[in-house]
Symmetry: C2
Subunit: 401 residues, 2 copies
């Protein structure tokens, strides 16, 4: 059971979760609970850091931020104990969630299950701090925003759990964001690949990394509401029938920035130089588009990054620009990404064309296109994004079961 | 360098400490800094715990409270970095401060110095979380209120440091509490045993355990102000001259509770049963007085505990009372302890008599007396304690150098 920061924002909410955990155990389950930091604790800590340092070292940020989850687990373990079920809290390092050394964005390398199993065998509710781990230097690392989902899936995998329940403030995964498309439908089930595309594309119900990991280890994720007992959406290997749905959902991501590089020398290694430099700074690059060769031995390359990463990416691009003798780098912040996702797409030709036609009907210009076997994404002007989502939801009749 | 919670209460104060640490390093020193939790963080965390649980498990309290120091060390390390000196923060478990398993009151068993030395060798300021350690189950423990002093001395011992500087909100150790006795004099030096008695007796400049440990490992402690650069008081093995001062100071402790047990069976093991039961609950017993045998095979036993421990001690005493068939247990909360301390006392007879006479002159009744080689303590009515301190300070002419 994984609960986010809003679910543990105060003592009353923590007690509610404790009740929910106790009920689950009394129904005969063994339970590991993963929690995030309380409410706005993380923002408060980041604010403190900024007060003492303009650019705090990433290692010290991790040391600081990891306290947020540690407070939550201690309080939740107390509340569960108070409800009559023995409980124990464990930090990421105590569990043995071993990560690489990329502070503030660490990746999980492996998870020990010995301590978890010992505590479960003693009939305890085990409460684990999300978002954090430990690198080989015995330093505390954090997994980046939303990393608690990843923690939950990693623990479920390490314990071969029957299900990994992710409690959120929404009822499940919808065919589009219900705030944008009122007719959006809750999906009872969805495949890993589809969920992965949706997660990557801005339907931020689940961290993409957590879905990737769930796919790799066959962990069944149940995305459900923290406010009621309704069934949510099961993310798992899809059945044959479900697979035939051509398009499952429409996703959008408003926090996208576009970077365009003009006149990149058309020689082997140029692209590698650019994207290796970004990777070294841990900037995730999403869509990459290179124009066809223009005949003058120079190319234009465009790609997108998360808007949050733009500040990091700009100096990298300027540095790389000088090395490669690039003409000009342009940054676009007024863009968004809209995408359609569906596992059935691969066997149904013409889906992309239907999407482009639906957008054209709304007079929406497409700046970049990227496709995979189960999704088509378009970069468009940001202020046209929500209109685009509604048009696509209707065009593919996603309101119908 | 050890700084308490009030010295790291906000970002400005943390930056000030950072400056102080940087200066110390620029003067050519290798520095390990120990800090407590910011301001009232610990109280805030305790309050949160009470909101979710009437009696939070001690292990979870430690998990919770340890976050306070972790926030401080991360912020101070950031601030020192910002001042141009590389710094790294380490939690108690990361340093390898290994303790027993008595949660919330753990004792340090040993301190590893490998990680500390590695970081110092890299010319880093090392910022360590006070108050916390790790037991053999890999669980976080805390050392009890004021345990940061103990952490500082333990690290100084493990590193064979030249000096352990304890920064406080007072200038040093005084012949009495200056708030009670305006004429009180700052001592330039004091021996471990005297300091130990003073610390135990309520002059709460230093944790008694920290002084004990300093004595055991020959750590020189410099108690000094966090507000200025004045020399404070050196606590170390005293010279021959200083030793001849008969009385160094007057201490008082208002947070004392008296427990009196009537009609304890006069047989071997009765006292052991009582005090073993208290020890199991980690209640520290201070003065113990047993009346001479009354001829009816029954004794009265009186002892004192910290007032904070009284709530824990009462049910223990009631349980033990039934086992032993004790007549009656009386609890007195309106008492205080006043003491005179001096290494020269041992070679100067009549010091105790002078004390009793000074108290008698003020019409103060003595309820219990306890003596050691270098101190005499009296339990008196709490509302007479401050008057008693002033009378004793004057009687022994402690205002004179």
């Amino acid at each position: 059971m994984k609960f986010g920061g809003s679910s543990v924002a105060d003592a009353v909410k923590i007690k509610n979760i404790a009740q929910r955990v106790v009920k689950k155990i009394q129904e005969g389950n063994e339970v590991v609970v993963v929690v995030s930091a309380m409410g706005d604790t993380t923002d408060h800590l980041i604010d403190l850091a900024r007060q003492v340092s303009a650019k705090p070292p990433a290692r010290e940020m991790d040391m600081l931020l990891a306290t947020g989850e540690q407070v939550s687990i201690a309080l939740l373990a107390m509340a569960i104990n108070e409800s009559g079920i023995p409980a124990i809290s464990l930090t990421g390092p105590q569990v043995g969630i071993n990560t690489d050394t990329v502070h503030t964005k660490a990746k999980i390398l492996n998870v020990q299950n010995q301590r978890l199993k010992e505590e479960l065998n003693q009939r305890k509710a085990v409460v684990v701090a999300g978002f954090q781990g430990c690198n080989e230097a015995n330093d505390i690392t954090t997994l980046g925003r939303g990393g608690s989902d990843t923690t939950a899936v990693a623990l479920a995998a390490a314990l071969e759990a029957d299900v990994c329940e992710i409690y959120t403030d929404v009822d499940g995964v919808y065919s589009a964001d219900p705030r944008v498309v009122p007719e959006a439908r809750k999906l009872s089930g969805i495949g890993y690949d589809e969920m992965l595309e949706l997660a990557s594309l801005g339907a931020l119900v689940l961290q993409p990394r957590s879905v990737e990991m769930a796919k790799q280890f066959g962990v069944v994720i149940h995305v459900r509401s923290s406010f009621n007992d309704n069934e949510g959406t099961y993310v798992q290997e899809v059945s044959g029938v479900e697979k035939e749905r051509v398009v499952s959902g429409v996703a959008h991501d408003l926090k996208v920035a576009r970077i365009s590089i003009m006149d990149v020398p058309d020689r082997p290694g140029a692209a590698a130089t650019i994207f290796e430099a970004l990777a070294r700074e841990a900037v995730n690059v999403d869509m990459i588009i290179q124009s066809t060769t223009r005949g003058d031995n120079k190319n234009d390359i465009s790609f997108t990054v998360s808007q949050d990463d733009l500040a990091t990416a700009i100096p990298v691009m300027e540095r790389v620009g000088k090395i490669l003798g690039i003409g000009q780098v342009a940054f676009g912040e007024d863009v968004a990404k809209v995408s359609i996702v569906g596992a059935g797409m691969i066997t149904n030709p013409g889906v992309a064309a239907m999407m482009f036609s639906a957008l054209a009907k709304e007079n929406i210009n497409i700046q970049m296109i990227s496709t995979s076997e189960i999704k088509v994404s378009c970069i468009i002007k940001r202020d046209e994004a929500l209109k685009a989502v509604r048009a696509l939801h209707e065009a593919f009749s996603l309101e119908q079961d």
